[in-house]
Symmetry: C2
Subunit: 236 residues, 2 copies
Amino acid sequence: MNVILIHEHEVASDGRVRLDDRRAEHLRQVLRKTSGMPVRVGLVGGWLGTGIIEGIAADGVSLRCDFTEPPPPKRALTVVLALPRPPVLRRLLAQMTSLGVERIVLLQTERVEKSYWDSPALATESIAEQLQLGLEQAVDTMLPQVEFARRFGRFVQDELPGLAPRILVADPRTMKPCPANVTEPLAVVFGPEGGLIPPELERLVGAGAEAVTLGSRILRVETAVVGTLVRLGTCS
Amino acid sequence: MNVILIHEHEVASDGRVRLDDRRAEHLRQVLRKTSGMPVRVGLVGGWLGTGIIEGIAADGVSLRCDFTEPPPPKRALTVVLALPRPPVLRRLLAQMTSLGVERIVLLQTERVEKSYWDSPALATESIAEQLQLGLEQAVDTMLPQVEFARRFGRFVQDELPGLAPRILVADPRTMKPCPANVTEPLAVVFGPEGGLIPPELERLVGAGAEAVTLGSRILRVETAVVGTLVRLGTCS
């Protein structure tokens, strides 16, 4: 937790905030803050700033907050991800958020197990929790947008082309290496653990996506997604 | 499991192999192989090839193996990693292996919790298991070398300079961006979750390491390591 994130409704009209959950615990037990000390704070959906600790005790922490700086810029990047198994989804949501991804689309493909769509990892609160962990890690305040696309064909035809002027699809079978340090707005599509099936890849390419590879080694989805995002230079 | 890895002592003099563990299970239950079908095999420390299934039943699988192709090249890359907490270590060992890292040094630094050195994740069999998962993922046969360096000062002075002609250290406080697509032999140093302390960074730089950053966002060690390796172009 590299920033204490605060929601607008938690800020009183005089800028004071009272915390009594894991954030208070973190200030007391991990950061060992005492009265009068400053702490990095951020308003979810708003700016970053400084909180001065006015009181700290076992039953909670009170802070006076000043939000004075904009959050780090997001990268104009959409990740389209075949829905992975729940533990991988959880870790990837946090990692993609910490890397500054602006928009995440979770996609049904032939090799996505249908039962994954019923996982508690897809509940609004569970997704919100992972996104918040990612923001807290990277000292950011702006949540990425998360969407679901359960109809592959319709998504590729109607929505994919509008996501970004340049669309990549990671595919270990192609020879074209994934570019590095791309600054233009991008969408990147990642297949599931067993890969996209050939007709899916064809439809993506037909809709304007460029197939690119990270090399001939077959990588886990988690490795490929994080690696590609850093390679593309998503971190500001 | 994208390749069935076999140890030399398991191969009979006529090239036949009998499996009755999770590999046999995988062939039967996941790949649903039947008699006469080919399967990708690899000899740990040796070559890749094809196994023809001669018999497959609940009590085991027998294969006739031919090892005909060299494994994918490793990248001349050493990762020096402040010992992370055990679950992260396990995942990273497998991921670094799948990315073709040649050598891994696990390092003690000021902010590494000493108790991590007593974790079962550091047992020889536990490390071997993760390395094997990484090889199975990436269709490789060559295990990376894993070493421990529990004395930071001595390691940096005596061993680090000999690891590679170019040494990088990941540090979010520097301004110099991490390069992409480096082909020369490299060593890359990653600090622990709380970062290297300034005197440690100074000693590393004094020993010839270049501090580089992935950007101002603070990333988890797992995200930074995987991202940096893919960015450097470690995948063959």
